[in-house]
């Protein structure tokens, strides 16, 4: 082959590579309006449900085609930011309330007050709308599916430690007592709280009724006698060796793995994980007893994990996008979704369905009932709007130092308050 021909081939190849980077071309002759839907970790388990849902919506709107994009939770928000930086971001997006401030502060979301009529918004649990979908009183999202934390107990480990169902703890303080017995009598661990992942420790304060920030986010509020009690309680538990050492470095996946391996007696989480326990560890599932989430002393505060749906400000078809978001989260579609896994709908009408009140006698049935009952008393552990990354890093550092006995809980909480106030003042 001559050099000139080779050079031409190389040029053609480069052109192919470059043009290959372009996004896909349009389909067929009759152009349909494409509404893109960005979701978190739902494929392939729920493929059938969503394909049916899209077909139904497309039947109601024959000129619309839904494009579904599903990504793992890890790196989800980075992926989303990248697509917003491009020219074609998704129209309808599944987020969590913890991610909401990031996207609101960057001005990429449409306010749902403009997008949805009041009668649509009024159908959802008002506390969930307030806690999960609003920032500074302005609504940016529709709530989708929820999960209030329940307590799953592996009774085999309880029995090994000489405990019965009567001993299942209701409060963190009771849990500490049970934990000592389990540690003493078995080689298993009683429970596995996560201390440092994404500022997880703030959840302990919030669940105990200790506010962490003032309304305008100008100063930290946790350095009070009650705050110190909570801080001391959780750091003492670590120091006493009642939780695995990896509580300082682990992410939320590790307790699930250990519970499924039969090495963890109590697992506090959303009831949807029961499905995984049932599939991956049938023996553990057989021994699992479900109870309401563990409370701080006499407080009755349940934390709820929420998934929300937001609309992109850059959407070329905002009205259709809003219609699709309302369709995905309406009572009947949420109810169908809830029947596939142990989650709770955010629409009041669907949550009052007999499916959540007259349940079968299985761990999943009980979890569903407990979770649905707790929704109205539930709160969302929100992310601060200002400098969350810096605040969380400081919190992790101090929690770590106290747990590793480099400073006392009093000193740690004082330094943490000081550092948070400095960061909030920046």
């Amino acid at each position: 082959m001559k050099i000139r021909t080779r050079a031409l081939l190389l040029l053609a190849l480069s052109a192919l590579i470059l043009f290959g980077c372009r996004s896909g071309s349009r389909e067929g002759g009759t152009e349909k309006i494409e509404i893109s839907f960005f979701t978190m970790q739902l494929r392939p388990v729920f493929d059938d449900y969503f394909n049916e849902l899209f077909a139904e919506f497309e039947k109601l709107h024959p000129n619309v085609k839904i494009k579904w994009m599903d990504y793992p939770a890890e790196g989800y928000d980075t992926k989303l930011i990248t697509s917003f930086m491009g020219s074609d971001p998704p129209d309808v997006i599944n987020l969590t309330p913890q991610m909401l401030p990031t996207f609101v502060s960057r001005g990429v979301l449409q306010s749902s007050q403009q997008a949805f009529p009041k009668e649509v918004v009024d159908k959802y649990f008002p506390n969930v709308i307030r806690d999960a979908c609003q920032i500074k009183g302005k609504t940016y999202a529709l709530p989708w599916y929820l999960a209030t934390g329940v307590t799953m107990c592996n009774m085999k480990i309880f029995q090994e430690a000489g405990l019965t169902q009567e001993d299942i703890p209701k409060t963190s303080q009771e849990m500490k007592g049970i934990a000592r017995i389990i540690r003493e009598k078995t080689d298993k661990f009683p429970f596995f709280p996560i201390y440092t992942e994404a500022g997880a420790f703030r959840g302990f304060f919030i669940s105990a009724g200790v506010p962490i920030l003032d309304e305008n986010e100008t100063r930290a509020l946790f350095n009070t006698p009650k705050g110190l009690e909570v801080f001391k309680f959780w750091t003492d538990i670590y120091k006493e060796g009642l939780v695995p050492s990896e509580a300082l470095t682990a992410m939320h996946r590790r307790p699930i793995e250990l519970y499924k391996n039969g090495k963890l007696a109590v697992f506090n989480s959303g009831p949807q994980f029961l499905k995984h326990v049932k599939a991956d560890a049938p023996d553990v599932y057989k021994n699992t007893v479900v109870r309401p989430g563990i409370q701080w002393k006499d407080q009755e505060i349940y934390t709820v994990d929420v998934h929300i749906i937001v609309l992109s400000k850059k959407s070329k078809h905002p009205e259709l996008a809003a219609k699709f978001a309302a369709f995905v989260t309406n009572a009947s579609n949420q109810l169908k979704f809830c029947k596939l896994t142990t989650i709770i709908p955010s629409v009041m009408e669907a949550a009052h369905d007999p499916y959540f009140t007259e349940v079968e006698d299985t761990p999943e049935g009980k979890a569903r009932k407990i979770s649905a009952e707790a929704i109205q008393k539930a709160i969302v552990v929100r992310t601060p709007n200002k400098h969350p990354g810096k605040l969380f890093r400081e919190m992790s550092k101090i929690v770590e130092s106290v747990c590793l006995e480099e400073m006392t809980a009093e000193e740690g909480l004082g330094i943490l308050e000081e550092r948070w106030n400095e960061i909030l003042g920046e």
Binding site: T78, I81, M85, S105, R106, E197, G199, E246, L248
Partner: protein
Amino acid sequence: MAYTFLLPTLVILGMFMFYPIFRAFLLSFWQYTPLSPDNRFVGISNYTQLFSDAEFWGALKNSFLYLLVVPVIIILSLGLSLLVEPKIPFINFFRACYYLPVVTMMVVVALVWSKIFETDFGLLNTFLRRLGFLGQNQSIPWLTSKKLALFTVMSVTAWKGLGYYMVIFIAGLRSIPPQLIEASMIDGCKPHQTLFHVKIPMLWPYITLVGIISSISALQVFEEIYIMTRGQVGTSTLVFHIYDTGIWIQQGGEQEMGYACSMGVLFFFIIFAFSLLNYRIMRRFHTTETG
């Protein structure tokens, strides 16, 4: 015509390497968060902020501490290469075994080793307990103690890299003229004397090469830290800290990309200094050998 052949490589390098480097340099003078309406030019204030940032200095210190892995890598991979260099039966099998970690993804390696090093359920502590080195309720906090965690992660880096450096040393051993070794044996050298007085001096250029390549890799360490400790318990190295500050966003990271870029630029100069050192030393050896 020559430039036409270079064009595809130049286009790809330009798009994915030179432009991002140039852009990172520009961004280091900005307060920049993707999509933020508050992005603005801040001059050199990102650089001045670095001087008072304790987290940055802590991470930089850890990155330099990580260089301790280099002598370990040199000694162990040299030892391995001496073991597998001779042509004996099944030697290719052993070579392949030692090389296997090199071709395994670091993510997989780090996940497996984090399970092995786990304090309470980990394989290593269980093994030590069974052998009686630890009491029934005792554990060594390999990955949760500030004194140990960084060194534990280093051991994984060393384990994964050994095979790669071993291959370089095998090439070095093969380049030693056999008559030199034979002459030393005829002169009555014992094996260890041949090693220290003939082989190692002849391998010096290779030792330098391995030292410098592994130093640069050690300074750039990221995946092991990200997976095994998430930068907790005092293990945050500079590359991890750059990621944590500029990219990480899960549940509320700010993505201070401008500030992270200033760290990246500074780090670029550190790595550049190492590369320059590499070039100078190699040139000196080349000059010594040839002339």
